[in-house]
Symmetry: C2
Subunit: 352 residues, 2 copies
DNA sequence: AGAGGTTACTAAAACGCTTTTCTACGGTTT
DNA sequence: AAACCGTAGAAAAGCGTTTTAGTAACCTCT
């Protein structure tokens, strides 16, 4: 039992063949067609016997391919990124690719530096999750929830038009007219689209959005505290509201806490809708009504798209541009009929 | 502006020097001591100007080092693994290492295969999180919550003696004597130690552990459902209990749901203690009392230990064996005084 | 018998770097 | 003047593959 993995050369030597032949056979290249089956068998048998494993670096050096992709997320330990990663991983590993992960924690210097480090490591492509992206690289790039149109990058995005509509429609149908909103942090890549579509949908349903009914998340922690603080600001303005649409589930959880501490019951006094449907959303008490982003699926679609582009470099059917994913409203326990429901004509128009 | 990154040879050519010299200077080897500063400056300037980046594969091929480690977790998207990974990443990146992640989802074939794949990719070391480990490899291995004594692997573990004691002491001091338990899945690497220490601590405090007050988690999902079902089994046995100590926060959340559905209030009728203190624990309603494992810290200690071992291969101070981390009881809203508290002499003995 | 075609391989270059060994040269000692 | 030394750098081997371009031996056909 040799401890060191043996090289192609050594294997060839033991076989009394040249490294070239062995390599050709093992990679079953066309050139090896003329090699008799018997010899091939001998080679495979020896490879198995000596547990031959081609050296990855040598191979990558030669082929200029690493079978590795880079994944950038704001923070591995937040539920959103983690779910997307899970989908990415699923697809990637099954195709023989590995991936590096880095968390940039929204630090501009890291967002700048990590792509360089990835390039240095010769990744074959990269995926940026919830990360503002404006670089055009020579390797394929796919973003999840990126909204910039950049040459060479494909964005996998939620259908935000739908997302805003289903959420607002749900609240309107429950009779809510005074709806407060928690807007995402400025650095979150979904903030803008999400918000503009909320404004659009609210307009469609004839819901007014007053300045004092909007609070923006501040700070880059992934904790519900941010939502708590935002809700506090909302409450402080004393403008009444019967429903709250939060930027994400995490902030919804914090907001619910704040509402409770202000002696408002959820959902009896205030209905709350979250966004994302992270795992713990279903296990809140009461369980959170939310707009589901199929994060895992988005991850695996991103990975699939990336691999396709790696394999068929910028040819026909190259999917630069956008891939849109449908959201789904998950109604659970944090929304209910408004106490003094105001029927909305528009709502019925849209509910057919 | 050249698009292709240029090689050392090309850089040397532009400088009118040999590749050897440039390499020596750039890696500031001792051999380059005799090279005048002026030349060195020229080299550095050119490197910067042409954005020279050494090819990673060539370098790794030569040096037989990859500056990459492998990380195995049950599932990236579960909060436990994610927190540990976050700590691992912190330390690793700052030291210039990257890491591959794989989720084995407790599938035995994957637990078997992934280490091989890592080896094939020439990782310099590997970290296994909450994963049964029995392999002795030629690269350093560090586990987080691994409990097997294996040559060449260092285990970073929680002090389970303490963990069981603080939790049970807390409940006993609140007057609980009838305590139910949810035990971990058989495949979870902490299940055994955790349980034996609970038995020990319960013994110390004179708490009887009846068969029908113990339910074991079943199934490999990371969802609270498992805890829900376990709690249902506990309830079905009709043996009364005033407190429940769950295997982890996730199962505690599910259990709380089950208790509520059985018209038991938490904490008034049943106090619940979780384990781990994952992020969402603090945002339950009421917030979960739990035994905190400093997961992030455990991750970064694991990474630190691994790098130390990679750098100083099996020499003096090689930390094979165990590194123990202290847990901390976080008292929040799911525990309170038992309705008919039974004072425990032992409890007071231990509370000094 | 010589041209041409297969068959079964091999030699050698290339990928981009590191590192050890070597050289050439000017200056200093003895 | 011969021996020695420090300086400044170059040559070359080697890491483990893959791949292109051969080549030697044999066979077939006319």
């Amino acid at each position: 039992m040799s401890l060191k993995p043996l090289s192609l050369k050594e294997l060839a030597e033991r076989l009394g063949l040249s490294p070239a032949t062995v390599s050709l056979v093992i990679n079953n290249s066309r050139v090896a067609d003329s090699i008799p089956q018997e010899t091939k068998d001998r080679i495979f048998a020896a490879a198995r016997k000596y547990k031959y494993r081609p050296n990855f670096f040598a191979r990558s050096l030669r082929a200029q391919r690493s079978f590795t992709v880079g994944v950038m997320v704001p923070e591995v330990s937040d539920g959103y990124s983690a779910s997307v990663m899970s989908g990415i991983e699923d697809f990637l590993l099954q195709e023989g690719y590995f991936y590096f992960v880095v968390s940039h924690r929204h630090r501009a210097d890291l967002i700048d530096e990590y792509p360089r480090l990835f390039l240095e490591r010769s990744v074959d492509g990269l995926i940026a999750v919830d990360t503002p992206w404006s670089l055009s690289l020579k390797i394929p790039v796919v973003t999840v929830s990126g909204h910039n149109q950049v040459k060479g990058v494909t964005n996998v995005v939620l259908d935000h038009v739908q997302a805003a509509e289903v959420a607002i429609e749900h609240l309107v149908q429950l009779g809510h007219r005074q709806i407060a909103f928690i807007k995402g942090q400025v650095f979150s890549s979904d903030t803008e689209v999400r918000w503009s579509n909320i404004e659009r949908a609210a307009g469609q349903f004839g819901i007014p959005i007053g300045r004092s009914l909007v609070a923006q998340l501040e700070g880059d922690s992934a904790s519900p505290d941010l939502g708590y603080e935002a809700a506090e600001r909302l409450l402080k303005s004393r403008k009444p509201f019967t429903a709250l649409f939060a930027f994400n589930d995490i902030s919804a959880m914090g907001a619910i806490q704040a509402l409770r501490e202000a002696k408002l019951r959820v959902p009896e006094d205030v209905s709350v809708v979250g966004f994302d449907d992270i795992q713990s959303a279903a296990y809140q008490n009461p369980a959170l009504t939310t707009v589901r982003q199929p994060l895992r699926e988005m991850g695996s679609i991103a990975a699939e798209t990336l691999l396709r582009r790696i394999r068929r470099p910028e040819g026909e059917g190259c999917n630069n541009g956008e891939i849109t994913i449908q959201p789904k409203l998950i109604v659970r326990g944090t929304t209910c009929r408004a106490k003094n429901p105001i029927p909305s004509k528009r709502a019925t128009v849209f509910s057919n």
